[in-house]
Every structure is written in C-alpha cells, then in structure tokens.
Subunit: 405 residues, 2 copies
Amino acid sequence: MEILENKSISCVKGFRVASIHAGFKRNEKLDMGLIVSDVPAVSAAVFTTNLVKAAPVQLDMKHIKNDTTRALIINAGNANACTGQQGLDDARSESERVAKALGVKPEEVLVYSTGVIGQPLPMDKVNAGIDKCLDSLRDDGDELYKAIMTTDTREKRIYLRMQLSGKDVDICGIAKGSGMIHPNMGTMLSYVVTDCNITKEMLTRIQKDVTAGTFNMVTVDGDTSTNDTATIVANGLAGNTLIDRTDTKDYECFCEAVYYVTEYLAKAIAADGEGASRFMEVYVYGADELEQARTLARSVAGSSLFKAALHGADANWGRIVCAMGYSGARFDQNKVDVGFESKAGEIEVFTKGVPLQFDEDLATKILSEDRVQVKINLNSGEAQAKAWGCDLTAEYVKINGDYRS
Amino acid sequence: MEILENKSISCVKGFRVASIHAGFKRNEKLDMGLIVSDVPAVSAAVFTTNLVKAAPVQLDMKHIKNDTTRALIINAGNANACTGQQGLDDARSESERVAKALGVKPEEVLVYSTGVIGQPLPMDKVNAGIDKCLDSLRDDGDELYKAIMTTDTREKRIYLRMQLSGKDVDICGIAKGSGMIHPNMGTMLSYVVTDCNITKEMLTRIQKDVTAGTFNMVTVDGDTSTNDTATIVANGLAGNTLIDRTDTKDYECFCEAVYYVTEYLAKAIAADGEGASRFMEVYVYGADELEQARTLARSVAGSSLFKAALHGADANWGRIVCAMGYSGARFDQNKVDVGFESKAGEIEVFTKGVPLQFDEDLATKILSEDRVQVKINLNSGEAQAKAWGCDLTAEYVKINGDYRS
C-alpha cells in the first residue's frame, strides 16, 4: 500500500470529475462538482442521524438502495435543508437533469448540498452549474476537494494504491468539514472513490464499520448536521478478483485501505475545527468493550471544559475524569490512568484513580504542541478506541456568532 | 405567598448559620459555612449523576438515608473529589467533628465541598474552620450565600413566606454555580431550608420532581460535576399541620413554593454562566409528553452553535431545528413553529417546518436583550417544558482555559 501525492478523484480509473464555479460562493471560487463513473458502480453511504434531514439526504437514502450508481452531483453554499416539498422537488430535479444528460436513471445519481439552511436552492444557478459540470468533466486531475469546502481552512484529500490479486487498485478520499459537525456550512461530507472490484454488500458493510470508528469519532462541537453524509463508490475497473466475502486477504487489505483513507480524513477534519489552534487525539485503551472505549473517548474529546483547558495548555485531568464520569459508560475509576503525549514528551498525571504530583512545566510544554494525545488506560480489558477533536477557542465563538450575517 | 427581601437561611425558625473565612480563598473571603437545625429535621437531596462522585457526595448518599438531619457543613475552594480513600476518610472526619460538638450522630451531618478537583483537603484548615463555624452560629442573618460562591459573579438567594393551616411557613433557598455544570469550581450546590412540618417521604418526592424540572433544565456547557448536589431541609418548627400526603391543599401550596424557589435559583445560575452576556429561556410547548419537551428544550439550550449564534444576536433558527433533530426526541418537523421573544418584542421565524421571511432588524433587536426566550411550538399535544442557559462567549473560553493556573 503506497500513498501517491497530488492525485485526485479523477485519477482513479474510469472516473471523470468536474469542479466549477456556479455562483454560490463569491470571488469565482469553486462551489459545484460532479463525479461520473464511466461504468455502473456500486456505492454505500452513511447518513446523518439527525431527525431533521436535508432534502438531498432524503433523496439519497432512496437512491443508495439502487444496485448501481453512475454520478454524484454536489454544491457548496446552500444546504437545501428545511426547505419543505420544494427542496425535495429541487433535489429530485437535479438527479433527473444529470441522469438525462448521461443517459442513466435518476436513481443512479446521488445529490449533495452543503451551506446555509432554510433557503430554497437557486435552481437557475444549479441548472446552469450542472450543465457546466457536464461540459467540463476530465480524467486527469480535478479540484473537487476545493469545490466542496466552506469554512474549511485546509484541503482534505488522500490517494492510496494497493495490489489486489495482482492488480493495481486505487482509492482516493476527499472530505469537507470543520467546526464539526455543525448544521450550516460545517456539514461533514466525504467521498471515497475506488476502482476496486467489490460487491455492494461488502462495500456497505465496510462503509458502516469504518464510519463508526472514524467519522463518528470526530467531535468538534457535538452538533450533528442535517446534511452529513459519507459515501463510497467502487466501479470495479481495476480488474481485481471480485471481493464478495469477508474471509479473504483481499477483503482485509481493502478494508485496511478504506480505514486508512477515512481515518486520515476524519483527523484532518478534527484538526481543521473552526478556530481551532490545537488537535487532540483521545486514546482510550484497556477497556472491556469497544463501545465503552468509544463512548469514553468521544465524551472527553467533546467536553467543552476540557477543550477550553487544552486551549490554555492546562493539564486539567479533573475535567477528563469528569467527562468520563458523565459519558454514560461504566468503568472503575480506581483503575484509571491518565496521561498526555506529544512531540515534546510524555507525562502521567493520574494513576489508579489518584492524582500524581507531576512536573507542571513539562505538562505545559507537552500540551502546547499542535497535536496532543490524551492517553486513558482503564486497566481492565483489551478494547480500545480513538476520538479526535480540537481545542475550544475564542475564535470558534467569533466564527459561529457571526456566521449567518 | 410573599417574597421577603434581604433575608437569609438563619432567618428561618430554628436554624442557626455560620459563614466564615477558613483559608481556602484568598483575601479573607468567606469560604466555609455551617447550617444547624435546633431540632431534628428531615432532609432530601438529589446528587450528581456523574459516575465519578466526590467523597462528600459518597458520604451524603449514605447520610441522607438517616431519618433525621441536624447540620450541614460546607467548604468552597477544594472539591475533595478524586482523592481516593483519604478523601472519604476526611469527609467522614468532618461529619464526626461537627456531630461531636453538637452532640448528635455523624449520620445527622451532611458534608459538602466545591472547588478544585484532585487535591487532598487541608484538614488543619478544615478543622479550624469547623470550630470557628461552631463558635459563630447566629440566627439573625448570615452570608452563607456568599461563602459558597466560587466563580459566581452574583449571589443567588430567595426567601418566601406562605401560610399553611394558619401558620407562617418560611422557605429560603441559596445556590452557587456558574459555568454550569462544570467539574471544578463550577459545581452546582443548592440549599433550600424551611420550617415547614412535612414528612421525609413527602419532602423526598417533592425534591426529586422539582429538581427534574428546574436544576436539571439548566445547561451552560453540558458538563456534569462530580459534586453537584441539591438539598432541602425541613425542621417542622412552623407548627403547621404535618404534610404527610399529596392530596391536600397544603401539599400543593408547599410544592409550589419549593418549585418557585428552585426555579428562581436555577435561572439565576443559568444567567450567571461563566462569561455569559445573555440569558436564554427555551420554551417548548405543544408537545405530546413532558420528557420529550424537556429533551428538546435542553438540547437547544445546550447547543454550542446556537449559544454562539445567540451571542452574535443572530436569529439562526437552523441551529435550533438542528439541535432538536439530534436531541433524540421525536417530533414532526412539518408542524414546528420557532420564534423569539424579549422585552424588545416578539417574532416568528419558522412555521410548520418552513422558514419565514422575517424582519432581520427586529430579530436582532429582540436577540440583543439581556434575557431572550426561544419559543418552540410542536403543535401536537399539551406538554411543555422550559430549559435555561446562556450564550457562549469568548470570555467563557478564557475563564476555562486559564482556570487551574
């Protein structure tokens, strides 16, 4: 498995991509994109658990059930959420326009929107944008990873190549999201595209597992968007032996690649939290069960108080233990160890339920790094989980206080 | 029922109170207090649901089971949390010292601490403080409401008088808490003291119901402390006919008084959220069930994104609907109305699941007031609930980033 630099979705065999300016963003910035597979592909997606689902999410939840997928159309700047029947009609109309131009079925087209909630899609711009996308599809590099950005400050993309049954198999992932997971521009969207030959059943299984361990472990402010969607598409053109069961080396290897790509994107989103100055990984290990480890890790990564402490490089283990305590997960507080690690070193601050006297200067040095790991050992079982987040800054408040206006 | 100004706990018949400086806080500030009932009283308490419970909470959970209570000893500045066996021994020793001096049983003494987590109680200061408290008990006014404050910027106390079976019955409530409900200094402690004649069974029932609708509906940052405790004590000296069943006018009237006092304190805590500049009440009505209304109200009041929007006086109903969506409570989004109200007026921004064109200037004016009500009508049933919170400010981040150092 190797990482290839400067590649994008259109570099994967049989995928063409357009990224254009349709007029949602100012200053001619890219704000719309289209992914087309030259052959019928299989796809899987995990959608927001928010009860209030944007129109494109409602549409895609139906379209994803179709056996094949041919295209994905995406706009950034308007979420088409809380837009009632008109929103549903607009999303459907998008899929129909793309389908007609490509000579495929509307159910083979997935539709995505991100941006401000509650404003009807400007369909003149959307339609013109779709046509422009159709005219500018290319297979030699694209900037879709830029077109989907909203409040993101950094691009998020990764490209891997692996060998399966003697064939090169490529996989490319891009994502947008910051201020995670927030209901307006901060929606999390991710696209993983591969030429792997795999059944829809296997792909669906992998996407569900991987999302639970990666995107669902990112927390920036605890809010879940109306539009969050993680999609994976595989068109089979690599020509590897079809992956149709779980007990093979190929399945395992492909799983690992999807996990690697998705975890990379999830961490990139956490690091790009709105106004964030510091990235944190919360590593819970020695747990009895995976879900327990995940719940504890997420609770710590999501604690406003610990996030504020992290911003001040304050080794406030009390807030960590407290966030574990109200997480809802069980654990024996008399067995817990807590420590911090970064480039600047490692320190233990709490052991077997009791605080340690520790070197405050060293702790501050460790916590002042850009990337900090919080290590929590439950000293009980073998399960472990990681969650990712960022510090809470005054800048976050500023961005989110001023956003709509 | 009338409100009396400038009264405190020691003004309630048969209660003596001390509030002193024991040395936990700097600048001779009050930091320790003692409440003593001259006769055996009944008490009830609701404790933090955090799995990690401070030593005094663990002790009080046993002592509250005792039929009678005679004294409450409280310190601010050190939480005696995450202090292992030593912490438990220290809390027990406090109850024994107070009990011995008063000639009562240790189980008749409740112990409270609030402050920094993970540091052993300085027992020399504690013991000297207890002795000083015992020497300075008075029944003609006290400043216990000041002694329990930590990061609070305002005192929180209220005093009511009602008539039950021809007798004057007094009830006084004090509380501390800000940056609610946060694991260090921000712990929520409340004390409601009355001379009402009531059984422990009735008192316990009332305290549980009232706490669910008041303190549990306050959210500042979603973190639940290791030390949060809401206690009520009644010594019967008013001489009213014993309240021992729920189907009486006296029960109803007393309930109402406790609810009034507790809601007043809960709202005062929300308004005193660390760094908060604006108080919000989220009023959910037209719900099918009480729990559904409560869950939705709390979710909106606790959304970091809406709190940040409120700080910017931004009528961002999208974040409200989104927070309702991820709350876990069911509702029909196509029936929902959302509006805002304050001294400056009233405005509806969302109706039957669809955004309204509204006057942005008026909305900004309404949201710029000190106290803002978010009104959410589910247009379905008769249940309703209110939750209280505050905006999210850069100042909050500052306070909580710098707190420990």
